[in-house]
Structure formats: C-alpha cells, structure tokens
C-alpha cells in the first residue's frame, strides 16, 4: 500500500514532473489545449486567449509577490508599459510585431527595476504604497503624453506578409485562432521558465527572501541584487502579457491598465495560490471563466424570467464577490492547495494520516 511518494533515485527526485500521474496530467492538458481551437468559435477562443494573457501576467506577478514576498500594486502600470511600447513601436516606427514583443519586455523590465529600488528599504504595506505610486505615475505619464489623447491603433499582425485576420487554413482562421497559438506558445515558455526558475540558485534566493529576509542576508543572499532581479524578472513577464494584449486587441488604451487591473491580478494570484506557478494558471481560469458563466446564466434568466432580469446584473456582482470572500475564508492558500488536497486524498485513501 502506497503511503506517499518516495523517490529512490536522484533523477526521479530532481525531475520536473515526479510521478507518472503528473506526467499524464500534462499530456492531457496539452492535448486539450492543442485540440480546443479546432472546436471553439471566436467566443470560446476570446475567453481562452484572455485566460492565456491573464495567466502570463499572473505568473509574472506571482514571481514578485508570491515567491519573493514583495507586494506590488503596479501591475496595471507595468502592463501598460509593455502594451504601449509594443504598440507604439509597431504603429509609429513600423517595427515588426514579433520584434516589438521582446523590446517591450525589456523596456518593462527596466521600468520595473527602477520602481523596485525602494523595495530595499520598504516592506509590506509601505512597499504596496510605493508600487501604487508606480501605477499612478505611469498612468499619469501616459494620459498626459500625446499618446493619451487617442488610443494607439496597432497595425494588424502579419505572418509572411498576410494579415492574421485574413489568413485561413480550411475553415480555421481569423485573429482569435492564430493569436491563440501565439499566446499559448508564450504561456508555455513562461510556465517552463517559471517552474525551472525555482529550481535554480536565483529562485531559491527569492524564496529565502520571502521567508525571512534577514536570515537570507545572513546566508549570503545579496538582498538588493536579488530583490531588483525579482522586480526585473517579474516585470519582464508582465510586459510580455501587456505586449500580447496590445497586439491581440489591435488597440492600446489606458483604461485597460488602471489600478483595477492591479487589484484584479492580485486577486488572481491570491485565489490561485501565492507562490505557485500552476496556481497562477488556475486563478486566471477561475477569474475569467466565473464572470463569463455568471453573465451567461444572467442572459438565460433574462429571457425566461424577465421579472427578475432586472436584478441579475447586481446578483452577478454579489455572487462574484461572495465567491472570492468564501475562497479567502475557506482556503486561503488558493486553488493550488485545493488541487493538492484532492490529490493527497486519493493517494492516501483509505488510510490518510
């Protein structure tokens, strides 16, 4: 009878996916991701693409907040840097879209590092206020600059000279379909990077800082260097999410990157699980799908029971709020912990101890 997971070789202990079931789960998820766009319409693809972008952004934020313990309310601002850099380069300078994305990532990393400097002296709530300032400063700068008056229209993304809107293979095509592959490719790379990051010296230094910064420094972790490195890594990925969003929607407007965005992403990683890469993805799925489900339920109600249709939008908001509160009360460690508990239950059944 199995009573836990025991590794008998170093190889299996160090493996990324340590049990056959974990491997099978990955194959299954990859299979679903690959097959999905061929069955979905543009609505399901829009949802899937939004999930992909939110997941990338949430992983970025989780590296900083969940793994390094540096709270950030500047997520919206950093995403805006990514989106505007990528959008303006493509729109005004004619830089090809695939080149604007890495440039946008680097630009966001630079700005993120800059705003990360106060983190050496500031912790907790104080750092939250400092990053909130970053959000406000970036937003102010965009609104006051010539970019802020009208939205930046990003030229359509092309592959081999054909616009993605027009590129079709059989019945499949359109920008939602092609962007699905681009977004999920980047999401795959981001996940691979993040999961492996925490198997390296740098990643472990981040975790040490989160758990006890003084102890980490005593062990020889250079706090300033690693905190800034965490801000840079995190912003790089957040910039990627912003750039993808700008290129995907074809228009960059500041209203997408307000303080509400920052709070939304914090909610994603708290619900998904702080300090968990897969949790960021679960959180993204949850936070995008639940409002969509509630909205669909609401629309179904409004035609069958018009009398209560008036209340539906308000009920929607209340249910969403209630779900989040219940989550925080019942499982503060998020969806990642729930998933772990389910696995443990079956693994150790019937004698859990």
């Amino acid at each position: 009878m199995e009573s836990g997971i025991f590794h008998t070789t170093y190889e299996s202990d160090m493996a990324l996916r340590r049990t056959p079931l974990m491997r099978w789960r990955i194959y299954l998820i990859v299979a679903v991701i690959v097959i999905l766009p061929f069955f979905g319409n543009s609505y399901t693809l829009t949802l899937a693409n939004q999930i992909g972008i939110v997941a990338i952004g949430a992983i970025g934020l989780n590296i900083l907040t969940g793994f390094t313990g540096q709270i950030s309310l500047g997520q919206g601002g950093f995403m805006a840097i990514g989106a505007y850099t990528s959008g303006v380069l493509a729109a005004s300078l004619g830089v090809p879209w695939w080149l604007t994305i890495p440039i946008a990532c680097v630009a966001t990393a630079v700005v993120g590092t800059l705003f990360g400097i106060p983190s050496l002296r500031l912790k907790g709530l104080y750092l939250a206020i400092a990053t909130l300032a970053a959000q406000q400063i970036i937003q102010w700068a965009i609104v006051r600059s010539p970019l802020g008056v009208d939205a930046v229209v990003v030229p359509p993304v092309t592959i081999f000279g054909t616009s993605l809107n027009k590129l079709r293979i059989g019945p499949f095509g359109g920008s939602d379909f092609w962007f699905y592959w681009i977004i999920y490719l980047f999401m795959f790379l981001t996940i691979l990077f993040a999961v492996n990051l925490f198997r390296t010296k740098v990643g472990r230094a981040f975790i040490a800082i989160r758990d006890q910064d003084i102890a980490a420094e005593v062990m020889g972790v250079n706090l300033f260097r690693y905190k800034l490195l965490s801000f840079a890594t995190s912003s790089f990925i957040v910039g990627l999410a912003g750039a993808l969003l700008g290129q995907y929607r074809g228009i960059v407007n500041y209203e997408r990157f307000t303080i509400e965005t920052s709070i939304f992403y914090l909610a994603v990683i708290i619900i998904g699980g702080l300090g968990s890469v897969s949790g960021s993805v679960y959180g993204a799925v949850f936070m995008v799908i639940i409002p969509a489900i509630l909205s669909n339920l609401g629309q179904a109600f409004s035609s069958s029971a018009p009398a209560i249709a008036r209340l539906v939008p308000f009920a929607q908001q209340a249910v969403f709020g209630l779900t989040i509160i219940l989550f925080l009360v019942l499982e503060p460690e998020g969806l990642a912990k729930i998933w772990r508990d389910i696995k443990d239950y079956f693994r150790l059944w019937p004698f859990s101890y």
Partner: protein, 391 residues
C-alpha cells in the same frame, strides 16, 4: 491491461470535455425572422447612474418598435447584458453576440468603444455608442463607428463661440483627467486662439473635492467662462466650489454634465449654469420626444422621470434601426456592410427636433453638427437657444 483501460477512459473524458466546450459556446445564426442587434450596458459599474436610463431608452425603443410592426414584419431582437464598465467583459460579450449572428452593435463608454474599434472594422459590425470622441466620426480612423451625439471638440467650440458672442475673451476648460477629458482641449484651444481669445486648461483628478488652488488661478487670470468636460458628480463639486469661492464666472457644461443629475447635485450653486447638449431635454417640446413619452405613459412612467440619457439611448437605437430599415427597403440582405452603406447614404434624418437633422456620408460619420444651449433656472434645465450649428 488496466493501465490501457485507464488511458482509454481518460481519452474519452477529454473528448467529452472538448465537445461540451464546443457546444456550449452559443448557437450560430439567428432565425430568418428577427434581426439581431447586440448591446452592452453599464448597469452596475462606474457609470451606471447614467448608463441605466440610457439602457432603458435603447431597450424601450426596441419594444416600442416591435409593437409597431418591426422592419417590414421582421422584429428586432436586442441581445444585451451588463458589462459593469469592464473592457474585458465588453470584449467577451461582443464576440459572443457576433457568434450569435448580430448585424450591428450598441456600445456604451469610451473604454469599450476604443477597445472594440479595430475589431468591429474587421468583423464589419456597425457600432454606435455614447462616446462622442471626434476621432470616431472619421471613417479613415474608425470605419464602422457612427456618431449620433455632437463630438466633444465640436461641443466645446460651440460653447466658446457662445462666450465670444457674449463678449467674453478669457476661457478655461476643466476636464476629467483621461482621454475622454482631454479630447476637446486641443480643438477648443485652437478655436479660441484663432478668434483672439485665450484658453486655460485644468485637469480634474479623480476623487478631487477641492479646486480652490485652480480657482485662485482662474481668478488671477480674470477668466470669464469655464467649460466643464466631466461627468455630473465631479462637475457639481466644482460648481459648488466656485460658489463658495465667490467667483463670478459663467460655467458651461458639455454634454456629460448637462443632465438632471447635475442639476440636483449642484443645487443652488447650479443656478445659471449653461449646458451644451446634443439632445433636447424632456419637456422642451421637441416633437420627437412625444413617442417616447407616449410609450412611457402607457407603461405608467413618464419621460420627465427617465430624463435626458433615456432620450439619447432611444434616439441612438432609432437611428441605427433606420439604417436597417433602409437596407430592407432597398431589398438587400441585412448585413453589417450593407447597414454601413445604407447609413452612409442617409442625410437629413429627421429626429423631430431632438437634434439637428443627422447626415452621414462616406467621408464623415459625425452626423450631428449642432448643439442646443440650456440653462438651469429654478433647478430645471430650460432652453435658452435654438439648435446652434457648430462653427
């Protein structure tokens, strides 16, 4: 063997899940009979105070129109939901409705209108909303957007002209600190300077409750006219500040603070404030308001109760419907590109004096080129001018 069975079961489950996702995404194509129009409204978000009456106007027009026979026997079907002023949800609802076969779309605010601007052009879905940025009237920039309200810059320019006619030469514009707010500033400033006047600019940060510093500058500069490009609640705060400060200036609200809400929030301080409105107020006697009031009376309500935003919603949906009617009358299939072509061929659409007659063309989608001035007297907006064409 058992491992093999497990794999097969997993595979089957995966296929089941996929087919569920594929089927759950909404049915394609509407019936041949009804014509589907999509809409998003803000009923619970940041702008729900004005979004709710606007949404009622749109919905009631569709109900009234269908009661009166619809388009050549075909009814209009409005598919709509609340999006709480969230851009992501606006995008979700929009693509969902496009999959359900809508031929045109009613948006709401600046955020969603801007976010969907390029998307509606590729999907070829004509789009109207309550965002009146001047850029949306330019078909080169926004080929599928159609403007029913007068553009923000056009409103501001008319307000400056009104001031010039009344002997003023020093103007200031207080605006919401966002693209919505800054949109009329450049145009109005250029117009004022071309006419030998000056224009000062003051952004109003969100949540600000005290404008004493700005008003001191206004006083020192001897400014005579203040234009406000903001929504009712902050505009009312500013007007109260002006009264407390004892400043003798003429305040002109552009369309988003010219409404009943502003009049009630501003109270005494609002007396004498001018409003530049693209639409006629309920009770102003415009002939086009009668059908709305009659419909509401039959439902036990009244247009006075619903207010100006209701008028805007009703009229916007009505103009869109007239485009659809023309497509049907010309014997064409009701599609987005055909509606666009029909609208572009329409000029001097009569709105019963709610607005000036509206004209679209292939080079200009800003159909409304006039505003009417109203003034608060005894807590009520009263017309003080006829429709004035934008200079």
């Amino acid at each position: 063997m058992s491992k093999f069975v497990r794999r097969v079961v997993l595979l089957l489950m995966a296929l089941l899940a996929i087919s569920l996702v594929a089927c759950g995404g909404g049915d394609d194509g509407g019936g041949d009979e009804s014509i589907k129009v999509g809409a998003i409204f803000d009923l619970t978000g940041a702008t729900s105070d004005v979004g709710t009456p606007y949404s009622e106007g749109v919905k009631d027009f569709v109900a009234w129109y269908n009661d009166n026979g619809g388009v050549d026997g075909r009814s209009l079907e409005l598919v709509s939901a609340d999006y709480a002023y969230k851009v992501d949800q606006a995008e979700q609802l929009y693509t969902q409705y496009v999959n359900q076969g809508i031929v045109a779309f009613q948006g709401w605010g600046t955020g969603d209108t801007e976010a969907l601007r390029t998307r509606i052009a590729t999907d070829e879905i004509p789009f109207m909303s309550a965002s009146y940025s001047d850029v949306l009237g330019n078909p080169d920039e926004a080929p599928y957007n159609f403007l029913i309200g007068t553009g923000y810059a056009a409103q501001a320019i008319t307000a400056v002209q009104w001031g010039l006619d009344n002997g003023a030469s020093k103007f200031a514009i207080f605006h919401h600190d966002s693209p919505f707010g800054t949109s009329p500033v450049a145009g109005a400033t250029a117009f004022a300077e071309a006419n030998g006047a000056t224009m000062a600019e003051f952004p109003m940060p969100g949540g600000a409750t005290d404008f004493t510093a700005e008003l001191t500058q206004v006083q020192d500069a001897g400014i005579e006219y203040i234009l406000i490009q903001n929504v009712s609640s902050p505009a009312a705060t500013l007007v109260k500040n002006i009264k407390d400060f004892g400043l003798d200036v003429q305040v002109v609200c552009l369309n988003w603070c010219t409404d009943e809400l502003f009049a009630s929030l501003a109270g005494d301080a609002g007396e004498g404030v001018l409003g530049a409105s693209p639409f006629a107020f309920p009770g102003s006697g415009a002939a086009g308001l009668k059908e709305m009031d009659d419909y509401l009376q039959s439902k036990g309500s009244s247009l006075e109760e619903k207010g100006l935003r209701y008028v805007a919603g009703w009229l916007t949906m009505k103009v869109m419907t007239e485009g659809i009617e023309k497509v049907v009358a010309d014997g064409n299939e009701v599609t987005g590109p055909n509606i666009k072509a029909a609208l572009e061929s329409m000029s001097n659409i009569d709105t019963g004096n709610i607005t000036t007659p509206l004209s679209f063309s292939t080079t200009d989608h800003a159909s409304n080129k006039a505003v009417q001035f109203f003034q608060i007297e005894g807590g009520k907006w009263t017309a003080v001018s006829d429709l004035i064409t934008v200079p």
